[in-house]
């Protein structure tokens, strides 16, 4: 670079971002904001009341939930247990089936492109199906009962888990795997010794995360006659026993907290 051109460049101070990127990001930003404003306008267009009494009205309702009638907790324990059991089965099945699917849909492990693309697409479609639809279809197939509920949870969790885990697999350190390959290990050995230890802690916490999602999804299960805490909650709301409903919500909250606690402990033990 000649001295002169350097001087020139110094004089016209550059902007913080290159002009092109700046323009693109600005455009995207305005599209997002524009779409947001439009959707806010659209969703509020038929509002009658305005916000005048929003909080007051909410307070009137919220008040009805208090004080929670904690006495019901022991009585719904059976249903809570059933929900937990369904979630355990669905999560376990999903966790097992996720392993091959996640491996097949991780680009760094499945280097055979068509296979990778097929699994990916399959998982993507699986993830787009709403849990409600899954539940309804399985009830159509199996009739009411626990099975359709469990299956709906299972398929739903499988979609999420396989995506999360395959992303984790794609971000592992490939060096140890290369070392295993270099010493003559076959595919299974390489995966088992090089990959598994690296993804195990993440795997555990994702599985427990999905478990938590499954517990809360039990409301959907109630809809299809699979029982569980969701059904009881619905019933209590239906009969206007709001303090009981609040107690059930608190119970769900406690279960969620306990799962989170266990999740943290397990992760600590594994890392």
């Amino acid at each position: 670079m000649t001295k002169q051109s350097r001087q020139e460049m110094t004089e016209k101070t550059p902007s913080i971002y290159p002009v092109k990127t700046k323009l693109q990001i600005t455009i995207i930003f305005f599209i997002v904001i524009g779409f947001y404003l439009f959707s806010m306008f659209w969703t509020q267009r038929e509002m009658v009341g305005g916000f005048g009494n929003a909080l007051g009205n909410m307070y009137v309702v919220i008040e009805k939930f208090f004080p929670p009638n904690l006495e019901v907790i022991p009585k719904v324990w059976g249903e809570m247990a059933q929900t937990i059991q369904m979630a355990i089965i669905a999560t376990t099945l999903a966790a097992i089936l996720t392993v091959p699917l996640a491996l097949l849909s991780a680009q760094n492990i499945t280097t055979f492109k068509p296979l990778y693309l097929i699994t990916r697409t399959f998982l993507n479609i699986l993830r787009t199906i709403p849990d409600l639809v899954l539940a309804v279809i399985f009830v159509g197939l199996f009739g009411v009962g626990l099975l359709p509920g469990i299956l709906a949870l299972f398929i739903f969790s499988l979609g999420i888990l396989a995506k999360l885990i395959s992303e984790t697999i794609e971000s592992v350190d490939m060096n140890p795997l290369e070392a295993m390959r270099a010493s003559g290990g076959n595919v299974f050995q390489v995966i088992y010794f090089g990959l598994v230890p690296q993804v195990l802690p993440q795997f555990t916490s994702f599985v427990l995360y999905v478990f938590e999602i499954n517990i809360r999804a039990s409301v959907v299960l109630g809809l299809v006659g699979a029982g569980g805490i969701g059904l009881v909650l619905d019933q209590q709301l239906g009969f206007y026993n709001y303090p009981n409903a609040m107690a059930i919500i608190i119970l769900i909250f406690i279960v969620v907290i306990v799962i989170e606690f266990i999740s943290n402990k397990l992760r600590e033990a594994l890392i």
């Binding site: 060096n175 010493s183 003559g184 290990g185 050995q189 390489v190 010794f193 090089g194 230890p197 890392i271």
Partner: protein, 258 residues
């Protein structure tokens, strides 16, 4: 014996990794390859155990051309070649013993290894290897609890456990401080002498190369520019390998070089 005959390698993106390589490495030699970053040292070494595949020429090991190898042939080849990496490539969350036993994978059935059913001999071999690099007391520590030098020693133990005929080491000391680097090089040399394992090492530092090598191969832009015993290395060789303008470059800052 490893023989490169007119070996060339072009990466899929068009980068030339190796060009017209001719070299023969005899059993028991301790060869050090030096060269600037991007000279093709790693490509050279990784061709030998087929982590990359040369695109032309003939590369034979023990008088067999390995370039066509696939599947189990390839695994058998790799079983007899041990490799040491710059970043140790240990499984961080696994303990030292298991990391070292990974060296036996090529010799162990899949089921056996997954169930952790190693033969007594294998375990004993792994332990001995760890003791040879003086790190026997750390067998149950997790790999990420060790310092860099200790990790590299574990990776040497892993290779020893493999009982290879050849050892390849790709910049084994680049992440280590000088005293530790010397330690690691000393171990490699010792093993080469005691077990008669042919050893090929990549190094950045020509001074360290001269201290340990029987023979030095200098590379530049994918080609061999020097090949001879350490004693023949002169100031001129140095210039040939690193390029005549290195010092100047340094001073100017050579924006795009590093």
């Amino acid at each position: 014996m490893i023989e490169f005959k007119d070996v060339g390698l072009v990466y899929p993106n068009g980068t030339v990794g190796l060009k017209n390589i001719n070299a023969t490495i005899k059993d028991g030699e301790f060869v050090v390859i030096v060269g600037l970053s991007g000279a093709g040292k790693s490509t050279f070494i990784r061709s030998i155990n087929r982590l990359v595949t040369p695109t032309s020429g003939v590369l034979s090991i023990d008088n067999e051309n390995i370039l066509g190898y696939k599947g189990s042939d390839l695994r058998k080849l790799r079983t007899k070649i041990g490799m040491i990496f710059q970043n140790y490539n240990l499984v961080k969350r696994t303990n030292v013993l298991k990391n070292v036993l990974a060296g036996r994978l090529g010799h162990t059935g899949t089921l056996r290894s997954i169930l952790n059913l190693y033969q007594k001999e294998d375990i004993s071999l792994a332990y001995e290897s760890l003791q040879r690099v003086n790190i026997g007391e750390k067998i149950y520590n997790r790999a990420d609890e060790l310092s860099g030098g200790q990790q590299q020693r574990v990776s040497i133990a892993r290779v020893l456990t493999q009982q290879p005929k050849y050892i390849l080491a790709d910049e084994p000391v680049a992440s280590l401080d000088p005293p530790t680097s010397h330690q690691v090089m000393t171990y490699l040399k010792k093993i080469n002498k005691e077990d008669k394992i042919t050893t090929i090492v990549n190094l950045h530092f020509i001074d360290m190369a001269m201290e340990y090598a029987d023979r030095i191969i200098g590379m530049r832009a994918g080609e061999i520019v020097f090949d001879g015993p350490a004693s023949e290395v002169t100031e001129k060789t140095f210039e040939e390998i690193y390029g005549r303008s290195i010092r100047e470059d340094d001073l100017r800052g050579g924006a795009n070089k590093s």
